[in-house]
Symmetry: C2
Subunit: 252 residues, 2 copies
């Protein structure tokens, strides 16, 4: 099996290293990842300037890795269409921090996996629901459940789907199992904090304090809150078909 690995925390992040190292046990791994943190970059692609690709000598345990001065979606495009990487499955992550509900729109990690599906390649986004500044980051829990999902299920995962996997940031033995979930809706409040620069001019930090979400029992955040691994199947058709039916009548 040939794996293409990327992330949005940047090629130097511990999550992508743990992911690449784990996957070498199951096949060939190529890493193509951003040269710096690109969190919140969504499905941005770089069209107004050219991109640079540099060979990386960061991972002694794999043959090929590349640093790109672009976004996670750029990395997938470049890997497939410029570097011609031959790949069976794309894994994006392991992101340090949850990508739940509407987060997926802002997430470079999930967007890389969506780009993988656009390229016709089965793709998985993996996030560890933890804070980057926590003392203990349970990357082992993430790699354990990822390999379980990829290689040890009785019914194998769908070949052409896209999965958004969120893993609770707790020791492996505390995880209660795996749940198939849907994307929930989380809203953030009071998002901008105004500060003054030394010249007295204001600037604004986006904060993002999540409001307690309205729960549906199948929601992804609910599963993680209850210490389950959340697996959400995602598709990329945003059409609202119910509304389309109505509009078709209106415009006839």
């Amino acid at each position: 099996m040939r794996f293409l690995v990327t992330n949005d925390d940047g090629i130097y992040a511990p999550g992508i290293r743990a992911l690449a190292e784990t996957l070498t046990k199951y096949g060939e791994v190529v890493v193509v990842a951003p040269n710096q943190e690109r969190s919140g970059v969504g499905h941005a692609i770089t069209v107004n300037r050219p991109l640079r690709i540099n060979k990386a000598a960061l991972f002694p345990f794999i043959k090929e890795s590349y640093i790109v001065d672009g976004t996670p979606a750029d990395c997938i495009k470049i890997a497939i269409e410029a570097l011609n990487v031959d790949v069976d499955i794309i894994v994006s992550g392991i992101n340090i921090g949850a990508n739940l509900g509407t987060d997926v729109f802002y997430s470079g990690t999930v967007s890389a996996a969506i780009e993988g599906i656009f390229q016709g390649i089965p793709s998985i986004a993996v996030s560890l629901c933890t804070n980057p500044y926590d003392t203990d980051i349970f990357l082992d829990t993430a790699t354990y459940y990822l390999t379980h999902l990829l290689f040890e299920l009785e019914t194998p995962l769908p070949k052409h789907g896209l999965l958004n996997v969120n893993i609770p940031g707790i020791p492996q033995e505390q995880v209660r199992g795996i749940k198939a979930t849907k994307l929930g809706f989380r809203k953030f409040e009071n998002e901008f904090e105004q500060r003054l620069d030394p010249r007295g001019k204001p600037y604004y930090w986006m904060k993002g304090i999540p409001l307690k979400p309205v729960f549906d029992k199948d929601d992804d955040h609910l599963a993680v809150e209850h210490n389950y691994v959340s697996v959400t199947p995602i598709k990329f058709d945003l059409t609202d078909y119910e509304l389309l039916k109505k509009l078709k009548k209106d415009f006839e």
Copy 2:
């Protein structure tokens, strides 16, 4: 009626000026837009540095306009959550260039409208399907059909939906009507052109030559190709419910 207007071509672009000027005939307009072109930026938000907001004196015909050194999604968040703009409807555009099918994932124009819906405000993305370097850019066609859709329909547009509107880049009298459409799938080929810098080191330009798409009769690009205005209702739930049903069984 109070309108919030943004775009991804930047606050200096002709499209946003035409849009703001047109909407002043129907109500109050506030412009909050990026300080530079942010095409292809998708739903990126700025979390790793603070943002600046400057009052703009660009549009003599409206009371308030602001320049933000961020993305279109940042502009919507800042307008609502830092500037506390009171708004009935968000209009993003007029983008010079189509936003059809899977383009919506890369489009700053559409992402601003999706962000509007996250904020609970009805939102419309408007794109003129033309090349920025064409001699004639038919912005009049776009403003005509936008105001028609907003104010002159027998059945008013859904209050809480999000609409992605693409307008053919042709004179108004050549437009054949309006069609409700679904997002099609367009793939691009041969996306990276390698060039050498003066020191002989390669760099890569993303090109994006669209392949002839596989058509479904309701596709958005088909409508525009046939000189119709395309109106696609969009929702933001990316969950694949069919696959979810199957996975739920697998994980039980």
